[in-house]
């Protein structure tokens, strides 16, 4: 699979570097708050989306199907690409925070790290949600579908949060427990998402969505 990843990294070369520069810049501007880091994460998810769009344009998948790869490997490489850029963006965001902390002692590093962990977990869910949509609807329509689904998801999350807040005496979850639960849910979502993506990918290869 290293060949597939290498190809995607060559394709993502310029936009990937831009992402990393932006992530560093966002992390250095305190007034941006979580907006900057969230934006950097969203840019990270653009990498596999753009890569799939490139593949569609040059019919790379037709060629890849002739190479000694299983469909699952071809699809998984896009997940790995997303995780790779998420990790890189988060790493740079943390680096930026550490640099900022050096000059400005008031930065709460543990709070920033918690926020980073939350963002990375959210990215796992976005990847799990987004890639099947792209494989099913193609890179153009898939982006729109993803935006709609994410909008609906955020709406539902707000509604549920508001409802929960009205419940008196609810048990408080510690951050590590919350993160563990979220990570387990993300792994389950990724497993289902991957299977769905492979199914859609194979259907697309067979012309089911042409």
């Amino acid at each position: 699979m290293s060949g597939l990843l290498r190809k995607d990294l060559y394709v993502a070369d310029k936009s990937g570097r831009l992402l990393l520069v932006l992530a560093l810049a966002f992390s250095m501007v305190p007034s941006l708050g979580t907006f900057g880091s969230t934006y950097a994460m969203m840019l990270a998810f653009m990498m596999p989306m753009n890569s799939i769009a490139y593949d569609e344009r040059c019919k790379w998948d037709r060629y890849a199907a002739m190479l000694p790869y299983r469909p699952g490997q071809i699809v998984w490489s896009k997940y790995v690409l997303s995780y790779l850029f998420t990790a890189l963006a988060e790493g740079i965001l943390i680096l930026g925070t550490v640099i900022r902390n050096y000059f400005q002692a008031s930065v709460d590093l543990s709070e920033e790290l918690q926020m980073g962990l939350l963002l990375v977990t959210a990215m796992l869910f976005i990847t799990a949600l987004g890639l099947p949509a792209i494989y099913r609807f193609g890179s153009e329509k898939g982006r729109l579908v993803l935006i709609l689904v994410m909008g609906a998801g955020i709406g539902v999350a707000f509604a549920v949060t508001n409802l929960l807040e009205e419940i008196p005496d609810q048990p408080k979850m510690s951050f590590p427990v919350l993160m563990l639960a979220a990570a387990a849910a993300a792994v389950a979502a990724t497993f289902s998402s991957f299977r769905l993506s492979v199914y859609f990918y194979q259907r697309r290869q067979n012309g089911a969505y042409d």
Binding site: M1, S2, G3, L4, L5, R6, K7, Y10, V11, D13, Y54, D55, R57, C58, K59, W60, R62, Y63, A65, M66, L67, P68, Y69, R70, Q202, Q205, N206, G207
Partner: protein, 285 residues
């Protein structure tokens, strides 16, 4: 070792508007098989089915002695070099980068061989693929296909749209490859003259059906062009006539020489004549 590099039996693939219909085909080792047919005849579909890149609706395919639906076929793909019609490389990638991508793909990748082909084809190593001409793109595809020590080459319209010099060079490359022990080439094209030049066998697909599959020399011996009157043609057994053109002054027909009376002169038919007359006859049917 088995005698055929490819064995296809009853291969069927149904689309909404096209069916590849019970295809039977053999490609013996040491040979070049030309797959000829109009656009949309099913040539590319056949190649994709051979590599199990498409789900089939029926039939079996064996490639280099391995069932292409078996688990072992993934390893067998290492031994198959494929060149597809059109572009397939992302436009921002260079020949040098493609080499690195494929080095991470094939266990048998041979960088020295790749560099040798890149140099022989005079391809720029660092030029982006988007700046390649069609000829350069096809050469890059061929260099990639030949650089992991394949035993079988599948070439889908690999010579289409190329200038005669480049085509000549590539046809020589394919013929040299097939001549090596345990090698074989399947070359799909609608440029019949290319196929006539290097192929040992010709398979003719028309609207998803195999109209003929025969040794090229047998085909050229069997068929001829008869120029005669309508009356003379009427005296020839119908099964000997495989297509005709009726003009104001007479008839030109593709006929089987064995059935011809001695007093009629039958000219030599080239492969293009044979294919064109047969397509015409199929359309009239």
């Amino acid at each position: 070792m088995e005698s055929n590099a490819i064995e296809i039996r009853g291969l069927t693939k149904r689309y909404k508007d096209f069916t590849l219909d019970h295809l039977d085909l053999d490609l013996p080792y040491g040979c070049v098989l030309g797959l000829v047919g109009e656009n949309g005849a099913g040539k590319s579909t056949t190649i994709r089915l051979i590599m199990d890149a498409l789900e089939r609706d029926g039939g079996t395919v064996s490639v280099l002695g391995t069932d292409n639906r078996s688990r072992e076929f993934l390893d067998r793909k290492e031994d198959v070099g494929v060149v597809l019609d059109g572009t397939f490389v992302p436009e921002v990638i260079s020949a040098r980068q493609l080499g690195k991508v494929l080095a991470g793909t094939f266990k048998n990748w041979d960088q020295a061989v790749y560099d040798g082909w890149i140099s022989r084809f005079e391809l720029p190593l660092d030029k982006k693929f988007k700046d390649y001409s069609r000829g350069m793109a096809m050469k890059l595809g061929i260099a990639a296909a030949l650089s992991h020590h394949p035993r079988l080459l599948l070439l889908d319209e690999a010579t289409g749209g190329l200038d005669p010099m480049v085509r000549e060079e590539l046809l020589e490359t394919f013929a040299d490859f097939a001549a090596q022990d345990g090698h074989a080439v399947l070359l799909s094209s609608h440029i019949v003259s290319d196929l006539e030049r290097i192929c040992d066998y010709i398979a003719f697909l028309h609207k998803g059906k195999l109209v003929l599959c025969e040794e090229k020399d047998v085909l050229l011996d069997r068929y001829g062009i008869l120029k005669c009157t309508k009356e003379q043609l009427g005296n020839i057994p119908a099964e000997a006539v495989h297509g005709k053109r009726v003009g104001a002054y007479g008839v030109e027909a593709l006929v089987e020489r064995a059935f011809m009376p001695r007093d009629l002169v039958v000219d030599r038919a080239n492969l293009e004549d044979i294919i064109l007359y047969m397509v015409k006859e199929e359309k009239e049917k």
